[in-house]
Amino acid sequence: MSAALTRSGVVAGALGGRGRAGRTARRWPAASVAVSLTLLALAVLAVLLSPVVSEQALAQDIMLARLPIGTPEHLLGTDELGRDVLLLSVAGSASSLVGPFCIALGSAVLGLLLGSLAGYHRGVTDAVIGRWSDLLLALPVVLVAIVVAGVFGGGYWWTVALLIVLFSASDIRIVRAAVTEQAALPYVESAQVLGLSSRRIMFGHILPNVLPLAVTNMLLNAAMAIVALSSLSFLGLGVAAGSADWGRQLADGRAIMADNPAALFAPALLIIAVACAINVVGDWLLPRLTIGGRR
């Protein structure tokens, strides 16, 4: 389960290798960008709809458990507890997407903050923050997770908070690498000579220049976080058992693959589709975000 968690870190690390992934964006054909944008729009719509449908989606009828795909009235069949897979998938979008989005955003913010400090100040600050991110990488996720679950009760948002911290290790590393690169540039030295405060230099001057990189990584993280968030539920964390959530559906759907494959494949495809869409749109958007990217 921690594989999903750490994989994001991996991506980040990879990008951090030289910190300029945004520059050489992939050229996706317009069609796939359009499809991806549509998909994301639908996902947002589903998130907005999910409070409306969730009551109906969560209503169990165990007499109708595990209806196969294609059943009239239950096009994608039903799950173990007799809930409509289609409705459940729509209702699950909120929990599956909002949290991961916050995780990606939160870890990016944390990464920007600590990474900037480490990359700009170097010395002791750098060493401490560097070791901190090493620490986060070496800590057994299960252990931290069960402690959070035990001490704080392990609600959804606690889990999101935990994942923000764990994901941030990689963000810190990337941002640090990029800020180090920027900090040596004359424009930063000019700002120093002007006597600007280091906070102003870090966040007013350097930050806008490393933002595109942080955003790329954020998009990748968002995809990982969807799976990561639900992979912790066996520890009593995150998505509560029985709630509408793609990751949860994925875990529960494995057992009834033979009865109703849709219970497994619907959430799996949704996760993959959203992840792909996020990345395609990210690749497409990034050069447009890069300020002064054209020279």
Partner: protein, 579 residues
């Protein structure tokens, strides 16, 4: 004879960057292409070696003897021609060699690319021969580029290019990144090689001084159009085209100081109202007037402008005493990096209102000194003291916040760096940048317009971001930012080295003007003696981290006492004198 016909380069949106250039390079002769930055010199070079970057396309032909190549030919065709027929040497020796391969291997690659099968030993001796040809010892073969100086790297690059045995060698500003003495040596070498190998050379430069005496013919381009073509010597001595004349005039001289360096005005290229009376003159194909066989100029509707008084007035050399009203005093400054003494007991004084130069070859410690003065570098020992008019109050959070690096008061000293591309924050608008600096100087943000006009920039540029500006414009913004705090001392570290002559002239004039208007003192760091001559009153000559000589600029540059200074001077004057 190598002939280029109707060479044009187009952007994918159709815009023409280079228009119908035609020229020829006789066998075993050399042609220089000169022009300002952005005039299309490099694209021309790339077009005739089939190396245009993506998004650009070429048309026209190039003929080598009886082989004619369409410049629009596909990569596959070009691949067979490059190396043996035409080879291109790039401007920057620091990036044009692969950093992770040994020099020998890079030269060997060119030899192998010709398809000749050689044993290891044969290959090694071939590499050694190549190195010897560019006057490098055989050991260089085993070294990595990083272990070599810029000049040596460029020699390796030349060896690598020549190992392919090209009929035409294109050298695109091969020495711009190097200091004066190295420049001279390299060009010397290129000249020798050209005669020895009887090869044709196309030398690209924005520096007329360099070309003088090192090319048989010269082609002057402006905005992708040919302005003048002719025998180098005669064209440079006696330009027929006003643009060529302007270029020549804006070159600073190390010998006399002018009140104002002549600037090149933009040329109107639209021939809609051609005053020359040519009937077949169009903007695309301006009419050509032949002055004598092998020397022609193109028609431009050039209003013409004589030089102003200031631009011809030679400033009298007057004795400059040591200043009494001292603003900056650097005393016995020492700084070493990893055992190398970058500053070794340097003492420098700058008086109020004075303009002081620091010269020296690459690595002599000039930059380290400049950075130490503004606090970007710490000293191992020695002191740096300022005597500002208004000492910064040492109390209050506000005062503390206004403190620059290492306790420097940003309202006392500011710096302008060499590279106009990296010294501005790419993500910031010009006005934000300036307003921020103004705030440090406790000036209102509304002064942005005033600041812009002080550095000669139009007010519209306030909303621009750096990538929308030219190099010259960027450097002006950098100067404006430095001036925003009303500093008493402005440090310029090679602030015009990256600019071409015309822009350089503008910036130097601007600095002189600002000094007059605001009474700023200037500490100007440069390896270019001519620039130092034009802008400073006194000069310090540095070598290996020490000041070896100092005094009035006019004196030092006319009668240097230290042999090193004499050598420096000789190297820089060499270019002008070879004429």
């Amino acid at each position: 004879m190598i002939r280029v016909r109707d060479l044009s380069v187009h952007r994918s949106d159709g815009a023409e960057i280079v228009s119908a250039l035609s020229f020829e390079v006789p066998d075993a002769a050399s042609l220089a292409i000169i022009g300002e930055s952005g005039s299309g010199k490099s694209l021309t070079a790339k077009a005739i070696s089939g190396l245009l970057p993506e998004g650009l396309s070429a048309s026209g032909t190039i003929t080598f003897g009886d082989l004619t190549i369409d410049l629009a030919a596909p990569e596959a065709e070009w691949r067979g021609l490059r190396g043996g027929t035409v080879a291109l040497l790039l401007q920057d020796p620091f990036t044009s060699l692969s950093p992770v391969h040994r020099c020998g291997a890079q030269i060997a690659a060119s030899i192998r690319a010709r398809g000749t099968r050689l044993s290891r030993a044969e290959l090694r001796s071939a590499v050694e021969r190549s190195l010897a040809e560019v006057q490098l010892p055989a050991r260089v073969a085993r070294q990595y580029p990083v272990e070599l100086s810029g000049g040596m790297r460029q020699r390796v690059a030349i060896a690598a290019a020549l190992a392919a045995n090209p009929a035409l060698l294109i050298a695109d500003e091969p020495t711009t990144a190097l200091d004066a003495s190295t420049q001279a040596e390299l060009l010397e070498l290129l000249g020798t090689l050209q005669t020895e190998r009887a090869m044709s050379v196309l030398l690209i430069s924005h520096d007329l001084g360099l070309v003088r005496g090192r090319a048989d013919d010269v082609l002057v381009v402006y905005r992708g159009r040919a302005m003048e073509f002719g025998p180098a010597q005669r064209v440079l001595d006696n330009p027929a085209h006003p643009y060529t004349a302007g270029l020549r005039a804006s070159e600073p001289s190390a010998e006399v100081r002018l009140r104002r360096i002549p600037e090149l005005a933009a040329l109107p290229l639209r021939a809609d109202s051609c005053a020359s009376g040519h009937t077949d003159c169009t903007p695309e194909h301006p009419a050509v007037t032949t002055i004598e066989p092998g020397w022609w100029v193109s028609c431009t509707d050039f209003g013409g402008r004589g030089l102003t008084d200031a631009e011809t007035t030679v400033v009298e050399d007057v004795p400059v005493p040591e200043p009494r009203d001292v603003l900056l005093r650097v005393d016995a400054a020492c700084r070493s990096f990893a055992g190398k003494q970058a500053l070794d007991g340097v003492s420098v004084v700058v008086g109020r209102g004075e303009s002081v130069g620091v010269v020296g070859e690459s690595g002599s410690g000039k930059t380290t000194l400049a950075r130490a003065v503004v606090g970007l570098e710490r000293l191992d020992s020695g002191s740096i003291e300022f005597a500002p008019r208004t000492p910064a109050t040492s109390t209050g959070a506000r005062a503390r916040r206004a403190r620059g690096v290492r306790g420097r008061d940003p309202r006392t000293v500011q710096i302008v760096f060499q590279d106009p591309y990296s010294s501005l924050n790419p993500a910031m608008r010009v006005d934000t940048m300036l307003a921020e600096a103004l705030a440090v100087g406790k000036r209102p943000a509304s002064d942005v317009a005033e600041l812009l006009s002080a550095v000669g920039l139009p007010a519209e540029l306030a909303a621009a971001r750096p990538h929308q500006l030219s190099g010259g414009q960027r450097q002006r913004v950098a100067i404006a930012r430095a001036l925003a705090t009303d500093p008493e001392l402005l440090i310029c570290d090679e602030s015009v080295s990256a600019l071409d002559v015309s822009v350089q002239a503008q910036i130097l004039n601007l600095l002189a003007e600002l000094r007059e208007r605001f009474g700023v003192s200037i500490l100007f760091v440069s390896h270019d003696l001519a620039v130092i001559r034009q802008i400073t009153d006194r000069v310090y000559v540095m070598k290996d981290g020490r000041v070896i000589e100092s005094g009035a600029t006019s004196e030092i540059l006319t009668s240097p006492s230290h042999p090193y200074t004499r050598a420096l001077l000789r190297a820089s004057l060499h270019e002008e004198r070879t004429a």
